[in-house]
């Protein structure tokens, strides 16, 4: 099967009716591209990452699921219900965190959360307090005076406080400090344990690796792949910069020739490598070399895309 035609059907999905399913979902803005022919399934109890660079169509997809946008073609179903026709029934059962959080600035956090709870006709008092405590925020704060991170926390609480069956989160950790991010990931894993489903869009590879079961990769409006996170980790490309105590020799280069390691550049005592997969063997070789410095940053989505998905359309 060619890469182009690989769909979610190729990656095992739990044998439960999908909570979320799109078929041929397409959105065009006049002549501009939105998304094209998106086929996706997310099973109950799954944390599904929707990964793609900025402008790839993640937010458009989410807005179609929420009936904020109407599809040009195709359809989306949530809980087996049509995203357009049954939107109200669907929204009763989901929680949504927008990518660009905007709240009523004149309200306090508590007033806003109470308004949302009343619109939903549910008592969320206990969950509100518990989530606020876990995320470290004071609900009495007036939203106008809140930082971007605090507004993000308020938006997270409103998405979670009514115990939705499905969480749709658009870039959820934007603006959160690392400690709060960690707590947020923990909350997501608890949601999964409770049998709830999470659909999370992100452009941060490590974020989806950390919490997701499967990942859908979208680029230029098209779903290019659906992977288990373990497969994605294998594909992940990281750049490594090595500084030796002496000039790099041909013997050094020969030593580093192995599967999953590619020499990208060599200047004096410096080498730049592209590494994917397991680094255990590479590290054992490096330990025998006079390494003065080593820079090995997190893999970027862009690098992984360029390596595996960047030129797919040319194949």
């Amino acid at each position: 099967m060619s890469n182009e035609s690989k769909t979610q059907a190729d990656v095992a999905v739990p044998p439960i009716a999908p909570v979320l399913r799109t078929s041929g979902l397409t959105k065009r803005y006049g002549k501009a591209r939105g998304i094209e022919g998106l086929d996706l399934e997310v099973a109950q109890g799954e944390i599904f990452g929707f990964l793609g660079p900025n402008g790839s169509g993640k937010t458009t997809t989410i807005r179609l699921l929420l009936d904020l946008l109407h599809p040009t073609r195709g359809r989306a179903e949530l809980f087996g219900l049509d995203s357009g026709r049954d939107s109200l029934a669907i929204r009763r059962r989901l929680g949504y965190l927008p990518g660009d959080v905007a709240l009523y600035e004149d309200m306090t956090a508590k007033e806003l959360l109470d308004l949302v709870a009343r619109i939903r006709s549910v008592d969320c008092e206990k969950n509100q307090r518990s989530l606020a405590e876990r995320l470290g925020m004071d609900l009495r704060a007036r939203i106008r005076a809140c930082s971007k991170g605090t507004k993000q926390k308020i938006a997270i609480i409103q998405a979670l406080m009514h115990d939705p069956e499905l969480l749709i989160l658009d870039e959820p950790t934007l603006g959160l400090d690392p400690l709060v991010q960690r707590e947020f990931y923990q909350i997501l894993l608890e949601q999964k344990t409770a049998g709830r489903t999470v659909f999370l869009s992100s452009h941060i590879l490590t974020e989806v690796e950390r919490v997701c079961d499967r990942v859908g990769i979208i680029r230029e409006g098209r779903l290019v792949d659906v992977e288990h996170v373990s497969d994605l980790k294998r594909k992940k490309v990281r750049k490594m910069e090595l500084v030796l105590a002496r000039s790099v020799t041909d013997a050094d280069v020969a030593q580093l020739k192995m599967e999953g390691v590619e020499l990208v550049g060599r200047h004096g005592n410096r080498m730049e490598l592209a590494v994917h997969g397991n680094i255990e063997r590479l590290l054992s070789i490096l330990s025998a070399m006079p390494v003065e410095d080593l820079v090995f940053p997190e893999a970027t989505l862009e690098d992984t895309f360029m390596e595996f998905y960047g030129d797919r359309r040319k194949h």
Partner: protein, 269 residues
């Protein structure tokens, strides 16, 4: 309508509503306060000398006595009922023009429409706030005029005044619904307010100019201001149901169109 969204929106808009109500009440008070000092100053002759379109606009016919005396009800009609509703339409344009457009621009529309609330309910809840605002402004008008009447010796019928204000509400309601339609079409406050403002101003000018257009005078029927007949209510003492129904029909059609447009509209981030 969603009562919780209505109450939250009413709370958010209360400063504007109170300000407009107080402003209009002060205007009513001022008109009453000024009446004794101008009633014998030859103002009646001035009104009679105005060009025909202006006389029609302020409703000279049937209010000025043949001797050219200036009764209180004419002065209120000319100086309050000719201008106050125009001011209130400005309030209507700003409130209704922003109804969905401002929330779309701020991004709060995403937050609300991701909750289990239908778009129609969102609009009706927000529009109910405008209706509450109009009621408050009318109460302000009534309070200002009634309070002002206590400062002078002349009297006019308060029930008739209330009917005239009700008649003016139909005009404001029509303008509000048209502004809401523009708000839903554009989902952009600047475009919505500009369109609603241009439409209302053009409508006002058309009605003002039409009497001087000879055989084309019929175009005045295209203006919502043509159906504004509060002065007639003052002179006849009863509602002008014909004009009221036209304005209510314009309001209803615009409201329904706004709902249909908003339901079909993509909410783009």
């Amino acid at each position: 309508m969603n009562i919780h969204l209505f109450l939250a929106s009413l709370k958010a808009g209360k400063t504007g509503i109170i300000s407009w109500s107080v402003l209009i009440a002060l205007y009513g008070l001022l008109v009453m306060y000024l009446y004794p000092s101008v009633k014998d100053a030859g103002l009646a002759q001035y009104y009679l000398s105005l060009p025909e379109p202006l006389k029609q606009m302020i409703g000279v016919d049937g209010l000025l006595t043949p001797e050219g005396k200036l009764p209180l009800k004419f002065f209120v009609s000319a100086e309050f009922l000719s201008f106050a509703p125009v001011l209130v339409t400005v309030y209507a344009i700003f409130s209704a023009g922003n109804i969905a457009a401002k929330e779309a621009e701020m991004g709060t529309l995403d937050l609300i429409l991701s909750q289990p609330i239908a778009r129609t309910r969102f609009l009706t809840s927000k529009f109910a706030v405008i209706l509450a605002g109009l009621a408050a402004v009318n109460l302000g008008s009534m309070a200002g005029l009634a309070l002002g009447m206590n400062l002078i010796t002349e009297r006019m019928s308060l029930p008739v005044l209330a009917l005239a204000l009700l008649q003016s509400s139909f005009l404001v309601l029509a303008v509000a619904c048209i502004s809401m339609l523009f708000s839903c079409i554009f989902l952009n406050p600047r475009k919505a307010l500009a369109s609603a403002g241009v439409f209302t101003a053009a409508s006002y000018i058309l009605n003002f100019m039409a009497p001087s257009l000879g055989s084309y005078q019929w175009v005045e029927r295209l203006s919502v201001f043509h159906y504004y007949r509060s002065q007639d209510v003052i002179s006849k003492g009863v509602l002008d149901w014909g004009s009221a129904l036209v304005l209510l029909a314009v309001a209803a059609v615009s409201f329904l169109a706004a709902v249909l447009v908003f339901r079909q509209r993509d909410i783009v981030s």
